[in-house]
């Protein structure tokens, strides 16, 4: 198709980092320095997780590990994948798949794991 619609190539190609993207509901992205700080936070969280592994805490340690996992997940999805800044439609689409997966496999684990169905 070669319709005479302007391509927005200038805005896409040359907009300064941190400028507002042109998708509906989108916001400015973090700067390089902010990305590095986020990377360091993720590295720190991983170090804490590994430290927790060596503690003999049982259920509390496992709960803390799951909490840190969820935190790291949200940081990567929100900041590195820009879900926090992009159009809400992407968030909804991804959340749909994620929630479906969590619901389906929680039921599977309950049935065949804890309830021991054959």
């Amino acid at each position: 198709m070669s319709t005479a619609v302007p391509t927005h190539e200038h805005e896409h190609g040359a907009h300064e980092h941190g400028a507002t993207p042109d998708e509906p509901g989108a916001h400015a992205h973090p700067s390089d320095l902010q990305y590095i700080v986020i990377g360091l936070i993720l590295a720190g969280l991983t170090a804490i997780e590994v430290g927790l592994y060596y503690l003999k805490g049982g259920a509390i340690t496992n709960a803390a590990l799951l909490l840190f996992m969820a935190l790291k997940f949200l940081i990567v999805v929100g900041f590195f994948m820009h879900l926090r800044f992009d159009s809400p439609i992407f968030r909804r689409l991804f959340a749909m798949g994620l929630c479906m997966a969590i619901a389906v496999y929680t039921v599977v684990l309950l049935m065949f794991g804890f309830l021991n169905f054959k």
């Binding site: 070669s2 319709t3 005479a4 619609v5 302007p6 391509t7 927005h8 190539e9 896409h12 190609g13 040359a14 907009h15 300064e16 980092h17 042109d22 998708e23 509906p24 992205h29 700067s31 390089d32 990305y35 590095i36 990377g39 993720l42 590295a43 991983t46 997780e49 590994v50 927790l52 592994y53 049982g58 340690t61 496992n62 590990l65 996992m69 790291k72 997940f73 990567v76 999805v77 900041f79 590195f80 994948m81 820009h82 159009s87 439609i89 992407f90 689409l93 991804f94 749909m96 798949g97 994620l98 479906m100 997966a101 969590i102 389906v104 496999y105 599977v108 684990l109 065949f112 794991g113």
Partner: protein, 211 residues
């Protein structure tokens, strides 16, 4: 012919003519079709990896014959691998930031860095698998080992495909077929790479760390 005074939702976005062409037409959602498709794909990938993780969780304690994965894990080694993959996500997002600024040279540097970090992770996984096999745990040893190899192996294949994709982008850029105007190509590749990273965040915690 499209009217330029369309409502703000009608934003030109890359789509029908392929990712490597400049965005040329509008979409009904106001967002890029290619990006929307990638998010839909990633949503479906959640179900794939969810199945594999649930299978591992179900079978982790059901091994009749040993050794089981849990007896052989080398947590310090896997922690370093996890750190490497996490840092590859950082370099990926810096590559995207570089192309959005129009800095193609730096974008290539970050993309190659990401690919190298990914390759380091895969090398670590190959080393881990080899060690496990030498210790007597193959995919057929027990249900626990089978579930472990399928889960981590599938993830490894995803990382390998991501490395190929990253190197393809570097090649296209060197041949002048990837320009700052097409930064969405890098963004979509980045989404896939970050997804592979978040899957590993879950695998590392559930498979390796939780006792």
């Amino acid at each position: 012919m499209t009217d330029l005074a369309e409502p703000p939702t009608a934003v030109p976005a890359g789509g029908g003519e392929g990712l490597l062409h400049a965005p040329t037409h509008e979409t009904s959602t106001g967002v890029s079709n290619a990006k929307l498709a990638m998010w839909a794909f990633l949503g479906s990938e959640c179900l794939l990896f969810g199945a594999l993780i649930a299978t591992y969780v179900l079978y982790r304690h059901r091994a009749v014959l040993g050794p089981t994965p849990r007896e052989l894990y080398d947590i310090p080694f896997t922690s370093v691998s996890s750190f490497v993959l996490l840092m590859s996500s950082l370099s990926m997002v810096l590559a995207l930031a570089a192309i959005q600024r129009g800095d193609m040279r730096r974008m290539r540097v970050w993309l190659v860095t990401t690919a190298l970090l990914g390759a380091t992770f895969i090398s670590g996984q190959i080393y881990e698998f080899t060690t496990f096999v030498h210790e007597g745990m193959t995919i057929k040893t027990n249900v626990s080992s089978g579930a472990f190899y399928v889960l981590t192996g599938f993830h490894g294949v995803h990382v390998t495909l991501g490395i190929i994709m990253l190197l393809s982008m570097v090649g296209l850029s060197l041949r002048g077929k990837l320009t700052p105007g097409q930064h969405e190509v890098v963004e979509i590749g980045g989404l896939y790479w970050h997804f592979v990273d978040i899957v590993w965040i879950i695998i590392f915690t559930i498979v390796y760390l939780i006792k």
